[in-house]
């Protein structure tokens, strides 16, 4: 070994330079930020959130609660990246968090000198007068985790959605440790397609640092071969296509650096950040869960000091990154793994001075007595270690970790008997309190350490058995001769963990027995929680913030739950723990959103004229999935003035509007008429062919679902239009009713996209259409239509080449108006021909003015809460056939006198404006509204604001005075109730009488 050069299995040749808090450091290719900074002698990685204590690196994995970094330069920063997960690349910029102005000197930490200031519930109890809001800005500045990223450049990686890959397989194994790979091996050798997901960049799990042997091979060689052997079978099978391979070749695909993060209804979602960020949706017949176990911390005074680390984490740093502590090391734990670890760490150059084992020899514990001879193994290990100068203190515990800003020594006491206190000088304390299965991903059959098999032999056997069980379930086992025997593995001995809750200490010291290093939750906080009545872990968790940080309590959450039970005199083994939630490692929001952002967030529907609108300043705005032009920029500087110009022009001359978004459903069949009578109030069966009718349909409960026109195309064929946003809903409704009326011979088809619709309105519309068609469209009586075939002036010929045109005399403007229903390809030529004929386009806002003036309804009025009676459609209800919803329309509440009813409103003074959403009261001081304004527009024709509203019918007869109250946006306006039709109530214009 070359002095000063690190050797680690993850390290590669090549140097990376990076900065941490402005200082430049060097690391090796393959280093994480944690390993490189540790190797550079860095002790402090950040400060805790609440009490701003200096913190080092605690673990070597995603559960890291202390060493959280902000990576990158604003605006492309990522906060709260565990240093242990942050693989370095050249030029990386890292910053510590929760400190100001610097990591070594933090202003807010001075606030802590009051001592024990921030106990649980501190904020709620302290800052309630004069009100939380008075303190919030200051507290928010002090609180928080890292720096939020700014708006990212459009082309930056942060804005690029991850790839999405669907993977199908027979067996998904989560975790490529010994258990997972043993399962994958046996399954693939017997013909299954296996996918293995592994969070780390290498397979092997703990065999990466534990000397271990499987089937007389070094474990990592065996595991690599386990994957390779299955792959060889595939190649063999494909090369000799004529030799029938039996069984079908199996395969193992290992997805490294990929974390299983969620369970969808039919798949497991895994995410890979590295290289090209990818979301995998893995559809597997069977899932084996081999996610392993989480090393647990021990609780003693000062267990948060920089220098205190998890033993398993330190072993990973040593084996994978070649870092061991320079200072004297003490190991502290409650199981046999300590001794093997001590030997390994010594071999890697660490100065291990002592092992503190909480278990005495020859304990009377049932737990240890089971395994005869096991204590002999430990005695032998002790004498071996003592011979090389490692002190072995059994039946002892670390009571206090001493030191100001970093660990200087530990105070060790015997658990039973004498109160002797030993002080051992050291700079590193490596602790291990046993392991708990990782449970964050509740999927599949659990094998390996996740099922409690803590030694290698048991884990491999468990994985193998899991693989065999899968083969049995898939019925493949019987067909297969070659089932390899359970692999024989030897590694570290079974650790024989003896549960140990926490070291003894005085009550006042409990505020330094840490359970959550991110939020500074201590045993003292749990006592406060119990005193306040938060005795269940789920309550205590939220009260104390135990386990609510980015690490989600993976470090101390379970120990905290056990201590919470213990403090209440309950057996800690039965303590309930708070719910573990996926994902194990943090996942960026970008990954969760996937590609469903921006334009891909949802489907977009565009009318055939969309491009024309965009090219002519049409401001298309979303309306359901559709985009519709609101107004045309040429007509005014803003929406309001443009809409006024456009609406005025329709009233004076005329105009055209793109109404292609209307839903269009074709209903056909011998029983189509009878079917429509059951879903529409207005008896479509009585329509003559070539005519249409305004029609309203109800839900089963008597509420209006939608309105539109029904056209009778033939005896057995109808076209129903729906409002733009409701097309799919109405289609579902009709299909539902059809399913229930299976005896009716009728079919329903959505033809929305087959027809573009152009509204042609105003007194000039007849002339324009006469020019176009060569026939006076006023020959059509109102609500009648032509299926037009013949030459179209300047456009072509309708009825040829599948180009269809239907001319319907109906509209939504109150003018003499027509609707042109045409094939999408005809839409643009017609649209342009009509403009040549002198008609200018108008947008949605103008359309709204025109329809409010006429009292026509949209979804502003048809809200899903109103009945046809509320809308003044008594006559239609009376004439209706056996329609859906009529029965429940008879319910008394729909007929009560205070039920709101559609009315028109105008200001009493004829000038004041009031907005939709204003609440209506009878008197200006009434506190309970009796109605509300649904739509309000300024009508240039009438020179005042006109509105539609719902108002209680008993107190709002025609002519009544009401008050429109709008305290947040406007002022109170006196209004009077008028008929909903404000403009041309006799409908002269509709008939073409100008």
């Amino acid at each position: 070994m070359v002095p000063g050069v690190r050797y680690g299995t993850r390290l590669q040749d090549g140097v990376v330079r990076f900065t941490f808090d402005g200082r430049t450091y060097e690391g090796r290719q393959g280093d994480t930020a944690a390993s490189a900074l540790l190797a550079n002698g860095v002790v402090w990685f950040g400060r805790s959130v609440k009490s701003r204590r200096l913190r080092g690196v605690m673990t070597a994995g995603p559960e890291e609660p202390c060493a959280l970094l902000t990576v990158g330069e604003y605006p492309n920063v990522v906060p709260n990246v565990p240093a242990t997960e942050c693989v370095l690349h050249d030029g990386m910029v890292l910053r510590s968090q929760n400190r100001w102005p610097s990591l070594e000197f933090d202003f807010a930490s001075l606030l802590q000198w009051g001592g024990g200031l921030f106990t649980a519930g501190f904020y709620y109890k302290t800052f309630f007068l004069p009100g939380w809001r008075a303190f919030e800005p200051l507290i928010r500045r002090l609180a928080g985790l890292g720096m939020a990223p700014g708006p990212a450049a459009a082309d930056s990686a942060a804005n690029r959605p991850p790839l999405e890959e669907h993977v199908t397989c027979d067996l998904l194994v989560v975790g490529a440790g010994p258990a997972g790979l043993a399962a994958a091996r046996v399954a693939a050798r017997n013909g299954l397609q296996v996918v293995v997901v592994e969070r780390e960049p290498a397979i092997g799990g703990e065999t990466e640092f534990e000397e271990s042997v499987i089937d007389s091979q070094a474990a990592h060689h065996w595991l690599k071969a386990a994957i390779a052997s299955a792959a060889a079978r595939i190649r063999q099978g494909s090369r000799n296509p004529r030799r029938v391979p039996r069984p079908e070749p199996g395969s193992v695909r290992v997805l490294l650096q990929t974390t299983a993060v969620a369970i969808a209804s039919d798949s497991v979602v895994a995410y890979r950040e590295r290289n090209e960020p990818t979301n995998f949706r893995i559809h597997a017949r069977q899932v084996l869960n081999a996610v392993g176990a989480q090393e647990q911390p021990l609780v003693f005074v000062g267990n948060d000091l920089p220098g205190v680390q998890m033993l398993g984490g330190a072993e990973r740093f040593a084996a994978l990154y070649g870092w061991v502590p320079k200072e004297p090391v003490v190991l502290f734990g409650n199981h046999d793994r300590l001794y093997a670890s001590a030997l390994r760490l010594r071999g890697q150059g660490a100065r291990v001075v002592a092992i503190v084992d909480t278990r005495p020899f020859n304990a009377n514990s049932d737990h240890l007595r089971d395994e005869a001879g096991a204590d002999e193994w430990r005695r032998a290990a002790c004498s071996l270690l003592q011979a090389v100068g490692v002190e072995c203190l059994t039946g002892s515990t670390v009571r206090v970790a001493c030191g100001g800003r970093r660990l200087r020594s530990v105070e060790v006491v015997a658990i039973a008997g004498t109160a002797d206190t030993r002080e051992i000088r050291c700079g590193s304390l490596l602790m291990s309190g046993g392991w708990l299965p990782r449970r964050a991903l509740p999927v599949g059959t659990i094998v390996g350490a996740a099922a409690g098999c803590l030694d290698l032999a048991a884990a491999v056997a468990s994985g193998h058995a899991g693989g065999v069980a899968v083969l049995q379930q898939t019925g493949l086992l019987a067909a297969v001769a070659e089932i390899s025997a359970t692999p024989l593995a030897t590694g570290d001995p079974s650790p024989r963990v003896e549960p140990y809750l926490r070291s003894p200490c005085a009550t006042h010291e409990e505020k330094r027995q840490y359970l959550d290093l991110q939020n500074d939750v201590t045993v003292a906080d749990l006592r406060v929680a119990i005193a306040e009545g938060f005795t269940h872990i789920e309550h205590a968790k939220r009260y104390t913030t135990l386990g609510i940080g980015t690490d989600q309590g993976r470090w101390g959450g379970h120990v905290g739950a056990a201590i919470l039970a213990d403090l209440q005199g309950l057996p800690s083994a039965t303590a309930s723990t708070s719910k573990d939630r996926p994902p194990l490692a943090s996942v960026s929001l970008q990954a969760i959103a996937g590609w469903r952002v921006g334009d891909s967030f949802r489907l977009v529907r565009r009318t055939p004229l969309h491009d024309w609108h965009v090219a002519h300043g049409g401001n298309p705005e979303p309306m359901g999935l559709w985009f519709r032009p609101r107004f045309y920029a040429a007509n005014g500087k803003d929406a309001a003035s443009a809409a006024m110009v456009e609406a005025g022009r329709v009233r004076q001359i005329g105009g055209i509007a793109d109404c292609s978004t209307l839903g269009k459903l074709e209903i056909a069949g011998p029983d189509a008429a009878a079917f429509l009578d059951e879903v529409y109030l207005s008896r479509p069966s009585t329509l003559a062919v070539g005519r249409s009718r305004y029609a309203v349909q109800l839900r089963e409960d008597g509420i209006v679902l939608d309105d539109g026109l029904v056209l009778r195309l033939a005896e057995d064929r109808f076209l129903a239009t729906t409002s733009s946003g409701h097309g799919l809903h109405v289609l579902s409704h009709l299909e539902h009713h059809r399913a229930h009326r299976a005896s009716l011979r009728v079919s329903v088809a959505d033809v929305t996209d087959c027809w573009a619709v152009i509204a042609v309105a105003g007194r000039a519309s007849a002339d324009a259409l006469r020019t176009l068609l060569g026939r006076d469209p006023q020959e059509l009586s109102p609500m009648a239509f032509w299926d037009w075939s013949g030459p179209l002036q300047g456009v072509g010929v309708a009825g040829q080449g599948g180009q269809r045109l239907r001319v319907l005399r109906a509209g939504f403007s109150g003018e003499l108006s027509f609707e042109l229903h045409c094939s999408p390809a005809l839409a643009l030529p017609l649209w342009e021909a009509l403009q040549v004929g002198g008609l200018e386009p108008y947008g949605l806002d103008a359309l709204d003015i025109l329809r409010v003036e006429k009292g026509y309804l949209t979804t502003s009025e048809i809200t899903g809460q109103v009945t046809p009676l509320d809308l003044g459609m008594e006559a239609m209800v009376a004439k209706a056939g056996p329609s859906l919803g009529l029965k429940l329309l008879q319910r008394p509440a729909f007929h009560e006198p205070q039920r709101p009813r559609l009315v028109g409103l105008r200001a009493v003074d004829g000038r004041s404006s009031f907005l939709a959403g204003a609440q209506l009261t009878v008197g200006p001081k009434d506190r309970v509204p009796m109605g509300y304004v649904t739509s309000s527009v300024f009508s240039a024709q009438l020179g005042e604001t006109v509105a539609l509203a719902f108002a209680a019918r008993d107190v709002a007869p025609l002519g009544a005075r009401l008050c429109a109250r709008d305290p947040l946006r406007g002022r109170d306006v006196q209004v009077r109730v008028v008929a909903p039709v404000h403009f041309d109530p006799a409908g002269e214009r509709l008939r073409g009488r100008y």
Binding site: S265, L728, A742, K887
Partner: protein, 92 residues
Amino acid sequence: MACPFCGLRPLEEFLFRKTVPNVVTGSGNGAAAGTDVTDSASAYAQVYLRVDSAERSVEEWQHVAGCRAWLLVDRNPSTGVVRSVALLGGTQ
């Protein structure tokens, strides 16, 4: 969920509409549970009344992002296990 026309399809393709009233112990026949618009006595019950059972729920679903068939799904709401999927109204 297994659509009678399309086979096993992801749940996102289906849309729940309602729990069918009072057929907890029934045969699960959609026609019997259907909305007969002429029967005034049962209209209220059809829309508003149902027996919530932890073990069995008969529900109307539509395969909206597929063949658009309306389905009668008999399932256990406690476990999510689907007992049967039939066409609503028998034939369509």
